[in-house]
């Protein structure tokens, strides 16, 4: 493992006027990791992406990218970063090849390098036959792939992506992840992305769960799931407020009410279900037992429901 982390974030805060969007965030991403910032809208992950992509300036704290300071070596950092925005950044009036050509020149590549890299990227992303097509004629999925080709054109060592699965069908999403794993294996590229999609985050090496601008949890997906004590039990009831009190009183469990459902975590959950139903036969409408998901992790860490939009 190389000693230099791909990304270090220390004590980073960001305010929009009075509102705190990112609050003293600190963490490190190792080189070669696929790292996800997971959080619902308003969790601060988009602001963080804007800071890391150098779109907005660092207000407080420090960020280094592959050992270079975002503050002091901005241009060097920009060379190391490949950025794929959530919003499209392609010029629709230009062809795929022309878009890549402009991008290459902005990053100081020579004409020969641009040709070589464009061919390589378009080949890897299955876009070779679209090279001369104007971007406005491409489908949404194809445009996303061109965005990726554009971001990776100058061989960045850190690829930053904001909500990369937006507008992708499941097949295209699987392709995207295959490609990300491939560049990680072959070129040692570190991938850092933001997402609000739980199933997307599950594919990462490590996840940082963001909540209200702070880091709520940070670990591998399986470790996060294991951190939730035991199985997760969800109970639906006609009188959830009364039932949650009754359960707390009878079993002294930490049952919580979220979105009209009662949630609790208990090791060996299956053994407890029969006891629950026997204790409250008329109040319980349904009981669901599950292995903890990232949603449970989020709820466990933040005490708030996860609103995926």
């Amino acid at each position: 493992m190389p000693a230099t982390p791909a990304l270090t974030i220390s004590e980073v805060s960001y305010h929009y006027g009075e509102r705190v969007a990112v609050d003293r965030l600190s963490l490190e991403v190792d080189a070669g990791e696929i790292f996800v910032f997971l959080g619902p809208n308003g969790s601060g992950k988009t602001t963080l992406f804007r800071i890391l992509s150098t779109l907005i300036p660092l207000q407080a704290g420090e960020v280094t990218v592959l050992g270079r300071s975002l503050r002091a070596q901005l241009r060097a950092v920009r060379h190391e970063l490949g950025v794929v925005f959530q919003a499209p950044s392609l010029d629709k009036k230009l062809s795929v090849a022309e878009n890549l050509q402009h991008q290459g020149r902005l990053y100081g590549l020579s004409a020969a390098e641009i040709r070589e890299r464009s061919n390589l990227m378009l080949g890897a992303l299955g876009l070779t036959d679209r090279e001369g097509e104007r971007v406005e004629k491409l489908s949404g999925g194809q445009r996303r792939r061109v965005e990726l080709a554009k971001g990776m054109l100058h061989r960045p060592r850190l690829l930053l992506m904001d909500e990369p699965s937006t507008g992708l069908d499941p097949g295209a999403r699987a392709e995207l992840w295959k490609y990300l794993r491939q560049i990680r294996e072959q070129d040692g590229v570190t991938v850092v992305m933001t997402t609000h999609l739980l199933e997307e985050a599950e594919r990462a090496d490590r996840i940082a769960i963001m909540h209200e601008g702070r880091l709520a949890a940070l670990d591998a997906p399986t470790a996060l799931q294991a951190s939730v004590g035991g199985d997760s039990i969800t109970i639906r009831s006609t009188k959830p407020a009364e039932l949650v009190e009754a359960i707390r009183a009878k079993f002294s469990w930490e049952a919580v009410l979220l979105d009209g459902a009662i949630r609790l975590e208990q090791p060996c959950g299956h053994l407890w279900i029969s006891k629950l139903v026997e204790a409250f036969p008329s109040e319980i409408q349904s009981v669901t037992l599950g292995k903890p998901t990232l949603e449970d992790v989020f709820i466990d860490c933040t005490g708030a429901p996860y609103v995926e939009q």
């Binding site: 804007r50 992509s53 150098t54 779109l55 907005i56 300036p57 270079r68 002091a72 070596q73 901005l74 241009r75 060097a76 920009r78 060379h79 970063l81 950025v83 925005f85 919003a87 499209p88 950044s89 392609l90 010029d91 629709k92 009036k93 230009l94 022309e98 050509q101 402009h102 991008q103 020149r105 902005l106 990053y107 100081g108 554009k150």
Partner: protein, 263 residues
């Protein structure tokens, strides 16, 4: 600091590539090309005909029409910065290692070249229709003057457009600021010493570009008087200063951010 790692050639590439993009985009929007050619010819013919009572011929309105082409095309070309921002192209330029000033220069050069292209076409048209009596050297000077005006006006457009997040806002500025700027540049009305219109026009930097063109461009059988116009030296001084000031301001404002970056 690694700020000097970008070589001169790559800065040139940044400017060149943004300029090329501007021009390619212009030609791919057919209606823009047609509008840009038809509108000035129409205005020229209409003003010349409509204001005939003032005893002013087509030759009088020619330099003013050139100024109008430069003003409107240059400024419309920079409106595209609003589209660039809204459509997202700008964000990828902003996070690239390309220096901000190179982006500004590339964008302005592109807009100015589109304006020049049309102004030159119109100049050829005037030459053919009216017959130019100016010497070759005078024509070259006139073209240089047009170039300076184009840079000044494109920069002005950039300055206005940078902080705007909608093209509607731009149109408002257009009608209360840019159109009067053209009306008060001596393009439409001859300079009458002492008249309030003339006095106001002295404060308009565009006046000096139009006057410069009047000095250089003379047409057959229609000697347009240059009496009452500022001298050529003053025309150059003001026009170059105008262009330099606008360019510097455009560069300075491009260092600021707007909420539109965050779309």
């Amino acid at each position: 600091m690694a700020t000097n790692t970008l070589s001169l050639t790559s800065v040139g590439a940044v400017i060149g590539t943004l300029m090329e993009r501007e021009i390619v985009r212009f030609f791919r929007q057919r209606n823009r090309v047609v509008g840009a050619l038809v509108q000035p010819i129409m205005f020229w013919l209409l003003f010349s005909a409509g204001l005939r009572a003032n005893d002013l011929g087509h030759a009088f309105f020619f330099p003013g029409t050139l100024a109008m082409i430069l003003l409107f095309t240059a400024i419309f070309a920079t409106i595209s910065i609003i589209e660039d921002r809204r459509e997202g192209f700008l964000q990828s330029v902003l996070v690239s290692p390309a220096p901000r000033w190179a982006m500004v220069v590339g964008k302005i050069a592109g807009g100015a070249e589109i304006a020049m292209l049309q102004a030159l076409l119109f100049l050829v048209l005037g030459w053919l229709a009216l017959g130019l009596t100016s010497s070759m050297l005078e024509v070259v000077w006139a073209i240089l003057m047009m170039e300076v005006m184009a840079v000044a006006l494109t920069s002005l457009g950039f300055l206005i457009a940078w902080r705007m997040d909608s093209t509607q806002g731009f149109h408002a500025i257009m009608s209360v600021f840019l159109f009067p700027m053209w009306l008060l540049s001596g393009s439409l009305f001859p300079a009458e010493p002492g008249a309030w219109l003339t006095r106001v026009s002295h404060f308009n930097p565009l006046t000096y570009g139009v006057a410069g063109l009047r000095h250089y461009l003379q047409f057959e059988g229609a000697a347009v008087s240059t009496a009452g116009l500022p001298s050529l030296a003053v025309c150059w001084l003001v026009s170059v200063a105008f262009a330099a000031a606008m360019l510097v301001l455009a560069w300075r404002i491009a260092g600021t951010r707007t909420t539109g970056d965050l779309l």
